[in-house]
């Protein structure tokens, strides 16, 4: 997780398009929440938010956003004993990801406005564009890494 935090902070977050960038941490938190559980996902979200906040200098808000992301993604949790198919797991993974991203980006757009952008710009760019970019990253992660972990 800490490696992902570093990757996110030093590489991915620098690839900005229209004030929005992809977020690999949310994808990771969504995956944890979906596969392990809401409680663990919330904890992971909180801790990763803290670490990100340490690096960015905005500890409280980062932690809060991470917590919310982990918590909302937890509603898509697929328990081990449910013997869900890989198709369902994939569907839940994307659901968890989109929900976490939208809620996280929405909070970011509302709470954080360092460039003094108008609210509608923030909502459009950060929420919509940020979610699309992150989901593309999530799809890539699923295709090359997570798919093997979510087999039947």
């Amino acid at each position: 997780m800490f490696i992902l935090v570093l990757v996110q902070h030093f590489f991915i977050s620098r690839l900005v398009i229209l004030h929005a960038s992809a977020d690999i941490l949310v994808v990771f938190i969504a995956f944890i929440s979906m596969s392990i559980g809401q409680r663990t996902g919330t904890t992971y979200g909180f801790v990763s938010g803290l670490v990100m906040g340490l690096l960015s200098g905005n500890i409280g808000m980062s932690a809060l956003i991470g917590t919310v992301e982990g918590f909302v993604a937890g509603f898509f949790h697929v328990p081990e004993e449910s013997h869900a198919t890989s198709v369902k797991k994939r569907r839940m993974y994307y659901g968890a990801g989109i929900t976490a991203l939208v809620s996280g980006n929405l909070l970011t757009a509302l709470l954080n406005n360092p460039l003094s952008l108008p609210l509608y710009v923030r909502l459009l760019e950060i929420v919509i564009l940020g979610t699309i970019m992150s989901m593309l990253l999530g799809a890539l992660m699923y295709r090359f890494v997570l798919q093997k972990l979510l087999r039947d």
Binding site: T42, A63, T67
Partner: protein
């Protein structure tokens, strides 16, 4: 009571969520406190150090380009150094030529050899001093080691030298110990060896004696070193004498042009000509 615990256990995720949200909001509120500032500062310094590492990594990637620039700079500096060394060498040569010359040579002109033609038969030198520098025909050309030749043609800024190692060149010489007189000439062949002619077999000349210009010369003052006797073989009437020349013509770069000449009155009374064959 048990059901309460069960209900709490069922919703622990909500409790965690509330707890973390509470902590986060508290952190947001306390963000301006000193402790948090210190933590924030520590985090930022960590951030800076990692960013520095990353930038040093990218520096390694651009190392090749920097290397090429340094090599180019190095080449420029090297060419400048070469040029300066050349200039310094020239200055030393001029200084050495001036310092090694005899006292009466202070008034001499120093010139650089700018062209040369060396072959088995026809040798010639060109120097970068001409009539505008006071050079005239039949002046003596020498180095601190000895005689080089005589000026035959003069232009405004250049002069042509007939060197000692030319078939047309002759000069009257005398040995230092036995005072044997003779006529020095050079035939085709070794550029370091000339021949002393008209020395009778009765002469007491010995190998190793130094030979200089004599009073009989029509263009050179007496006493200019020529070389040293290295071989004497006797013929019917005259000796065949080889002289190893003092001047190394292969490495000749600077010469001294002497304005000192024998008395014109002496030359006239001798009936000598200043042509090439004149000794």
């Amino acid at each position: 009571m048990l059901s309460l615990f069960r209900r709490i256990a069922k919703y622990t995720a909500y409790l965690y969520f509330l707890l973390y949200c509470g902590i986060s909001i508290m952190l947001m509120q306390l963000q301006r406190k000193e402790t948090l500032d210190a933590i924030k500062e520590r985090g930022l310094s960590m951030n800076a150090s990692i960013a520095e590492q990353i930038s040093s990594f990218t520096g390694i990637i651009s190392l090749r380009q920097e290397n090429e620039q340094l090599l180019l700079q190095n080449a420029r500096l090297f060419s400048q150094l070469m040029h300066q060394q050349q200039v310094l060498g020239d200055a030393r040569s001029i200084q050495a030529a001036s310092a090694g010359a005899p006292a009466w040579a202070r008034q001499f002109r120093i010139a650089r050899v700018v062209d040369r033609r060396f072959s088995a038969t026809d040798n010639m030198l060109v120097i970068d001093a001409g009539s505008s520098q006071g050079i005239t025909r039949d002046m003596t050309v020498l180095t601190p080691d000895g005689l080089v030749g005589r000026v035959t043609d003069v232009s405004r800024n250049y002069a042509r030298i007939l060197p000692l190692i030319n078939n047309d060149f002759m000069v009257s010489v005398v040995s230092d110990s036995s005072r044997t007189l003779g006529l020095l000439s050079w035939q085709n062949g070794d550029e370091r060896i000339a021949h002393m002619e008209h020395v009778p077999v009765s002469s007491s000349l010995k190998v190793g004696e130094q030979v200089t210009t004599s009073d009989y010369s029509t263009f050179a003052i007496r006493g200019i070193p020529i070389g040293r006797v290295v071989r004497i073989s006797k013929d019917k009437l005259f000796c065949n004498i080889d002289i190893r020349l003092a001047v190394d013509f292969s490495s000749l770069s600077y010469v001294i042009v002497s304005p000192a000449k024998p008395s014109r009155e002496k030359i006239e009374i001798m009936g000598g000509e200043t042509g090439h064959k004149a000794p």
